[in-house]
Amino acid sequence: MSTVAQVFKETARRMTHDLRHRSWIQNALGKYYVGRDEKKARFQNWQEARQAAAEIKWDAVNHLDKYLEQFVSKIEARGTKVFWASTGQQACDYIVGVAKKHRVRSIVKSKAMTGEEIHLAQALEKSGVEVVETDLGEYIVQLREEAPYHIVFPAMHLTRHEISDLFNKKLGSAPTDSPEELTMIARRTLRKKYCAADMGISGANFAIAETGMISLTTNEGNGRLSTSLPRIHVALIGIEKVLPTLDDLALFLPMLATAGAAQAVSCYNTFIAGPRQEREPDGPDEFHVVLLDNGRTRLLADAEQRDTLHCIRCGGCLNVCPIYKNIGGHSYATTYMGPIGSVLTPHMRGLTEWKHLSFASSLCGACTEACPVKIDLHHHLLQNRRNAIRCKSPWWEKLIFQGFVTLMNHPLLYRLGVKLGWFGQKFHGLVKGTKLDPVYAWTQSRELPPLARNSFKDYWRRKQS
C-alpha cells in the first residue's frame, strides 16, 4: 500500500472516532438540507432542471474546441490576454511572470479551487509576493495554514470560538463570541489589503462562449472587489467551465446557489468581459485569463467518465456523502474532496497512488442523486476500481476472487463450503476479535451472523421431496 493511502486510512480512522466532529458536521449539514430542499422546491421541476443542465454541459464539454475558441476570440477582442496552460506548472509560471513584470508586491485572491489545485498561492509566495485570501472562510484557513475543509465552505469545521482564538493570536483582536464582530475584524483587515494590492486573482464559475465573459459568484462581494480594485486581474479557469450562451446562466446561477449553499441565488454575481475599456471609470488596466488543462483533456478523452467535466464545483455531493460526513474534508488530502474528489483525483494525480479513494465508498449513490448536473459519480467509482485492478491487483486479493469464482461456479463445492463453514464457526470463538481472526476486519467492531444449520437450499430440497 502506498503512503498516501496509509495516511488516508489513519486520518480517517482518527476522524471517525471524533464524536464532536461527527455531531458538528451532521448538525451543520442538517440545516443545509432544509434550506436546499426549500430552494429546490422553487424550481418548477428540479429533476427536469438537472436534465437540462446536464444536456447543456454535455454540449459544452463535447464541443469544447468550438466554445473555447469562441470564448477566447470574444474576450481577446476587448483587450484580454489569454494564456493556455497545459499543466499547473505552466499556469503558475505564467502568473508569477506577470506579477514579476509588473513588480507586484501584494495580491488579493478571491476563492478559486483551480488555485488550490495548482498551488498557486505557494508559487507566488515563493517568488516573494504576499497573497491574501479574501473569502472569509479561505482567509481563516489561510491564517491557520491549512487546506480548505470543503469546496464551498472552507472553514465549516471550525467553531466561532476557534475562529476568535485564531484572530486573537494572528491579528491581535479582542476575543468575541459574535459572528458579526468576527466578520468585521476580518473585513477591517482585508480592506487595507485590497487598497494596497497590485493584483487580484480569481477563478470563474462559468465562462460564456457567446459573449466572451466570465461569471464570478460570491456571497461576500470579495470577488468583485478583488477583480476591480487592483490594476491587474488574473482569472485562472479550468477549460471545462465554458457554457455556450449567456442565457444558460439563468439556469446555472440558481442551480449552483441551490445545490452549493442552499440559496435561491448567490449574493454577488459578477460578469467580467475584459480590462477597463476606454471611457470606463474603473476596472483593472490588464486582464489575464489563464485557461487550465492540467489533466482535463485526458478526462475528455475518456468517453466513460467524460461527464465528470460537467462538474460546477457546487460541493453538493460532499454535503450528502456519508463518508465525507464521517471522515471530514482534510482526510482526503486532495484539492477536491468527497465523491467528486474520489472520482477526479485518480485521473489528475495518478490511479495507482489515489485509487484508495475510489474504494473508500459504500457506493450508496447519494452523490449521484444530489449532483445538479447528473454526473454518474458512484458508477465512476466502480469504473476507477476496475481500472485500478486491471493495472495492478494485490496477488492475495486476486487469489481470493479466483477462489470465489471456483466456489460460486461449482454448486456442490459451494454447498460443501457452507457446511464446512457451519462446522468451522464453532471454533471461531477461540480467535474472534483477535489478530488471528480471518474475519478480523469485520469482527473488530461488529458481530458476524452465524451460518444457519439448514440453508435455503436444504429447505428447498426437503420441500421438493
Binding site: K9, A12, R13, T16, R22, Q26, P322, I323, N326, I327, F359, A360, S362, L363, C364, G365, A366, T368, E369, H379, L382, R385, R386, N387, A388, I389, R390, S393, E397, K398, F401, Q402, F404, V405, L407, M408, N409, P411, Y414, V418, V439, A441, W442, S445, R446, E447, L448, P449, P450, L451, A452, N454, S455, F456, K457, D458, Y459, W460, R461, K463
Partner: protein, 238 residues
C-alpha cells in the same frame, strides 16, 4: 405466471428464513415458484471490488441458468440491482450484452414485484409491532424502491411504521468496503443505529439482509437494543 426465485448466497447460508418467507408469501398469493438450485451468487462482491473478469465468470453462469425463466424474483434490492443495472455495465461490449439486457428486464425485487407487477399490497400479514424502515441504497437508488415496501407495511395488521430521520442514508455496509475501511463503515453504522434508536421501534425492517446484517452486527457488539427483520419475514407473519 412462472416465477423463478433467486436467493442470494448469504441469504441461503445465513438467513434462509428470509427466502423461505418469500416463498410462503408468493405461495399464499397462489403463485407457483421454482428455484434453480445451482444458483449461488450474482457476482457482486467481485464486481464491486474491481474484479470484473471474475464477476463476469460468475454472472455468465447466472445468465445461462435463468435463460428460460419468465420472471425472476429475488429477495434483495442490492443483488437485484446487480442483475438489473450492473450486469448491463459488466457485459457492455461483450457478446452477452443483449442477453444481459434481456435478463435485466426479467428481474424483480420482491416488494416491487408484489406492488408494481402484481398490484398487491395486502398479503394477509399480521404483525403487532412498531417498526422503522431502512431504505437500502441499492434498492432505493438503483431499483427505485421507496413507496413499494411502505405500501406493503401499511397493510400489515397491527403494524405501526415510525419513520426515522435520514432513513435514506447508508448503513455503512457497502460490501467489501465494510472490511476494507471498517472504521468508516462502523461510524456510518453508528449514525444509522442512532437514528433508528430514536424512533423507539421494536424492529428495523429493510428489503436488504446485507444492510440488516451490518446494523444487527454493530448493535449486538455495542449492546444497543435493536432488532432487525427483513420485509419478507414481516409479510410472512400471520
Amino acid at each position: 405466471m412462472k416465477i423463478s426465485l433467486f436467493i442470494p448466497c448469504f441469504i441461503d447460508a445465513c438467513y434462509p428464513q428470509v427466502g423461505i418467507s418469500m416463498v410462503k408469501v408468493l405461495e399464499r398469493l397462489g403463485h407457483q415458484v421454482e428455484y434453480p438450485e445451482d444458483f449461488t451468487c450474482c457476482g457482486q462482491p467481485a464486481f464491486n471490488s474491481g474484479y470484473w473478469d471474475e464477476a463476469r465468470a460468475v454472472a455468465e453462469k447466472v445468465l445461462a441458468m435463468y435463460r428460460s425463466a419468465e420472471i425472476i424474483v429475488g429477495v434483495s434490492g442490492s443483488c437485484g440491482a446487480m442483475m438489473m443495472t450492473f450486469y448491463k455495465e459488466l457485459f457492455h461490449g461483450t457478446p452477452l450484452e443483449a442477453e444481459a439486457k434481456a435478463h435485466a428486464a426479467k428481474v424483480w425485487e420482491f416488494s416491487d414485484f408484489l406492488v408494481t407487477k402484481l398490484g398487491v399490497t395486502d398479503v394477509g400479514a399480521k404483525f403487532p409491532a412498531k417498526v422503522t424502515f431502512h431504505d437500502g441504497c441499492h434498492g432505493l437508488r438503483e431499483v427505485g424502491l421507496k413507496k413499494q415496501p411502505r405500501a406493503l407495511l401499511a397493510k400489515v395488521q397491527g403494524l405501526e411504521l415510525i419513520e426515522m430521520d435520514a432513513a435514506e442514508s447508508c448503513c455503512g455496509f457497502g460490501g467489501t468496503f465494510s472490511v476494507k475501511f471498517p472504521m468508516i463503515s462502523t461510524a456510518m453504522g453508528e449514525v444509522k443505529c442512532d437514528s433508528a434508536l430514536k424512533t423507539k421501534a421494536d424492529y428495523i425492517v429493510s428489503c436488504d439482509s446485507s444492510c440488516l446484517m451490518h446494523i444487527q452486527g454493530l448493535a449486538d457488539r455495542q449492546k444497543k437494543p435493536l432488532r432487525t427483520m427483513h420485509l419478507a419475514e414481516v409479510l410472512a407473519k400471520q
